[in-house]
Symmetry: D2
Subunit: 380 residues, 4 copies
């Protein structure tokens, strides 16, 4: 062994990168087996001067029915590159209550300092978990959940939401279509209408995890409510989401904010400048989705013209997706490439008949209503 | 939209595989974004008639200083293909005690039923967490931890371990070299000697997570103690281990057992039929490591002979690794391929000068002492 | 720098695994950036005593219209774990003929020695490339293609195939549905019927690359022809196949052979013991597909019984896929888990109502006719 | 089967994303098994107003000793996001000459049109392949290689390079340390000195594939030659490079050019504005490497201050890597985080004692001489 050591060290030149293994004090460390830890940057360009903040305002911990300590939630959002989050444990539901303290502020408190250190904006929140209908509501930007109502009797529904309203919370209705077997639950209920009229309902969770509640998008569009997307995560992000696919991220709300501050997020939510993003899919109001998509996709000037046998000419273009979003485009007017798939941070080669002013595409992964895709045009 | 629907459906032939997306009741499900959930089979052949069981007997939950609810631990071992596990929360250390019940049996109890349903063997365990030295001991196959001693004063060390001894536990010393700055702590201490003489120490955790405590391997070999490998996981397996590499699994003890039962595991542990496995690395007693490696690696008969210009002949062979283990081999005697890397479930082409009876290799990722690799021979 | 070197080397214990970087003679080698090179083992158990050989008998090189030198084809099959292959360059089509020799035996010859060294069975073949209809035919186990007919006039079609027939080749019709716009081309043509009657047609390429020619499966079943699957690769396997997905392999023919020899392969092809395999999909004669699937899937004895509130009992089972194939199962009779997805080398937990004798599933990725899935039963 | 179809189609809502499978004309297409094809965008910000072009000017095809048709090279550079490339087949070495035309312009010609369509800049080049010493030289921006000299006798070495010089080529010396066993070959030879004096040597290939020729970096720095990095690829990029690691790209020259044109590339090469890039490693002149690194790494203003028990304060910062490069940093002056690993498009959390003006790091993967790392400072 001795001899081998000497031979080997003659190969060692000078300081190398992080070693695969190292020995100190009789312990060999297998560094190469560790997962590299870093904060991912989700690449989305500014949209008309707004920063696009990545936010998930619907998450759970062991303090309600989640399966992790709050620190795991803080770690997940840091690593995944989110800008802002909220722990929204249920007020009315505590299956672990025999073993874990029931305290509506606790999960938030336990990661407040850590989130500051991590440069992640932690918004205080709660899930008001009424029976369905009317179902569940998330209240964020709350001040104190200690007096929120645990009794989930229907007659207390109004009072329950008002607890959040009184704290000037931003309130959104969660996953409205989650109980398809309860007749009438996925409707614009009188209770919802009441909240809406009182300005006590500000948004709807249009995408919850892997479920796109299509009617909810139409309600947001028609009634001017804010489109929200969130995970409602109870298990691990690493367990639920197939992050081996480069385009898969947790479901979230993209918030177009003036600054990266809680105040700016709140302003943007109130103003409705959001898009719900579920990896391959986008849902939002037409204006917001259009601005976002236009900031990401760039058609370069034609770099090549081909003379065709029939006397026509075809121009070739590079179309770039300068973001970590994903797009599928389908030609709707003009003569050119029929279908284009734009993976994150990539481009495709497309062609169009020469002599056209513009060409239009449906973005078939971007919904601006339950039955309508975003349509975009490129000047040629 | 209507028209498009009709055109599309003409393409639909008959029942396809699981759809990427589907809509029902106004909710579109993005199934393709979900991580596929299954129980991985870790491929290791039988070793001389023994099944090779994959076991991790050192894990934590929120009931001591872990960051997950016990169900996450159950889920992780199921998905990763482990046969047996134990939750070993600390007896003496409960940083979450203001919020979580202190009950030494609870984390085990909470996943007993689930583990049965999952066909995972759950062994009852505890970590007896004394100050260093002497440090920490895991006791598994215990019956009830309710009377274990929380007071960690050194004068109670003996009594603390005896609580487990009285329950006929299998006791192993954890990560002996973990505190390099405490002079003398990584030594064969009198306290350890006492336990050993009384037959109250049965094994040592030679590999803890990513740390190989090299001296501990020698102690196991010299004193006939069982070699253990385990994660000591507090965070998530998915966070700590780089499972994007095909050869990375959690650190574990490979137990060569007669049957897949708790009794057989105990018998094998007592008999010392184990190898500690840390993804690319193996550590154990020579006999065990040799038997394991020989069961995995197979040299096929030579399929090709090349006549060399100098009149000699070279035989070509395929060498197969029929397991999910990983091996690096380095020639120690005979004339043939100098270095061989065997990735999981793969083979390499090697050559050897014709006319030799055998050829020998050090398996440079398999330690049978702190300074000795396993050496294996192949008949040619 | 000097000082750093000394400090570092004190960390170096003894011989480590393959270094990420090493310096010798003033050149630093970045070994860690290299793709690891090895021969993958595709895990498929024996089927009723037959070895399941992985074969691709339809590939191209620069000697016809392929884009690679023959050595790349040899390298690809070795790394991907195939047992046997054939280079089948076109007889009648040589787009590179201004720059590359036209010689129908050359591409085979250039890798004969290499294939022997690699322990890969190289079968001599050619693609007889007639106009459509009748289209293309692969002839394998040929002896010499030097006198094959380059003139592709239809009147020479018969003579062209006879050149292979005279050499006692195994002949299969390639991708019969490849030209959907030629009316009548994807039919059981008189020319085909003639070949069939003369016993000069032995199989049909039911799966070509990513295309499953569904009618061809029925013809094979009804007329007793051998089911073939192959790549018809012109570009790189690494370019065409998404091998980042664990279940994706090149399309191939699984041949159930007595031995791993050219003779056994020929015998098995003549006897029709094949299944066409396209990663997630299988197609073949019912008996063959059934035997293959039964060799891969294993239902373990129930390990757990749950008493239900209504007095019934539910048994839990582990169902294992001991292969690198992929399966989707859908319940067709009995009461139990509706859908089961079996990823390569993994298991799932399923349940069935107690008291049943058996339970049946359609294997919805395994076609035994164009409109029929394999159905399998498990004894409970 | 009929029934199943009807039930299924009721789930189909409206136009979905690209289907996993589709049937038309009796052929089922398994689209999901195909590798997605797109042009990757390698993310590197502008450096002081220069675009950073990704270039590989050393590649081979079947027209010398490479293993692929030229179209594969065109495809590889397009998919990998390179801006410019050259086919540099050997003038003096044609192992396939029995089968493939010997024509020094052919491989370039065969992909000229394709490269234009692909928007990839194709520079005409050749490898002048003399015996070692002096070894090999790449000449790019040549006009016609038809009269280059195939005779590799040493007495023709000068004349051979002059053929390129006369065409006003950009000439660089390839992999100077490639033959360590030839005494004196890896030295600043008289022949090289002659070329240098005549201004017929403009750069040196400091990184060739996975080999960093360390002395060559010093020569470039000391003599004002341009630092080149290239693949010298003969096999497939997908075979040689481990592109499953996110930070692995082919080895290349990063050219800081005014515009994305051949002329700008030439100007930048002549001006020496390059960095050789081998995935994790950079090598170049200090000024160039420093400008590049400073364009990629950004230290955000401190977001958090921690009061320590000893009265001091610690500031926390987010340090971002806004590029697809990779960096390892090691503290050289100031008090702060010792080691920082910056993966592509990610950030890390670091800390520094409050009250410091700046802090400095060696970038231990960025060489500015054979024995010197780039050192960078951050203002705090």
């Amino acid at each position: 062994m001795k001899t081998k050591l000497l031979i080997l060290s003659s190969f060692v030149g000078f300081a190398f990168l992080a070693q695969a293994q190292e020995i100190s004090n009789g312990v060999m460390r297998f560094n190469e087996l560790r997962k590299p830890i870093y904060r991912e940057i989700i690449n989305i360009p500014e949209v008309n001067g707004y920063q696009v903040l990545k936010c998930d305002f619907h998450t759970h911990t062991v303090f309600s029915d989640g399966q992790v300590w709050p620190t795991i939630r803080a770690q997940e959002v840091w690593e995944e590159g989110l800008d802002a989050t909220a722990i929204t444990d249920h007020i009315e539901y505590h299956p672990h209550k025999k073993f874990v303290e029931v305290n509506h502020n606790r999960s938030h408190e336990l990661i407040e300092e850590l989130s500051k250190k991590n440069n992640v904006i932690l918004i205080k929140g709660s899930e008001i978990t009424r029976q369905t209908p009317p179902g569940h509501f998330n209240a964020i930007f709350i001040k104190d959940a200690s007096s929120f109502i645990e009794d989930n009797a229907n007659e207390k529904d109004w009072e329950a939401v008002m607890k959040a309203f009184e704290q000037d919370a931003f309130i959104f209705w969660n996953h409205p279509g989650w109980r398809p077997n309860i007749e009438g639950s996925y409707e614009w209920l009188p209770f919802i209408e009441e909240l809406y009229k009182k300005n006590a309902l500000h948004g709807i969770e249009v995408i919850n995890g892997f479920g796109f509640h299509m009617k909810a998008l139409d309600w947001c569009v028609d009634k001017g409510l804010t489109v929200m997307g969130s995970t409602d995560i109870h298990n691990l992000i690493a367990h639920d989401y197939d992050r081996s696919k480069e385009y898969v991220h947790r479901t979230m709300t993209l918030v177009m904010a003036k600054e990266r501050t809680p105040e700016s997020i709140r302003e943007a939510l109130k103003a409705g400048r959001t898009v719900a993003w579920a990896s391959k899919y986008l849902a939002g109001k037409e204006e917001n989705v259009k601005n976002l998509v236009n900031a990401c996709i760039k058609l370069l000037p034609s770099h090549f013209t081909q003379e065709n046998q029939n006397g026509t000419k075809t121009n070739f273009y590079e179309i770039q997706n300068n973001s970590d979003l994903y797009f599928e485009l389908e030609l709707t007017s003009g003569k050119g490439t029929q279908k284009i798939t734009l993976y994150p941070m990539s481009s495709q080669l497309i062609s169009a008949e020469a002599g056209q002013q513009s060409i239009s595409y449906d973005v078939t992964n971007a919904y601006v209503r339950s039955n309508k895709f975003l349509n975009i045009s490129f000047s040629l």
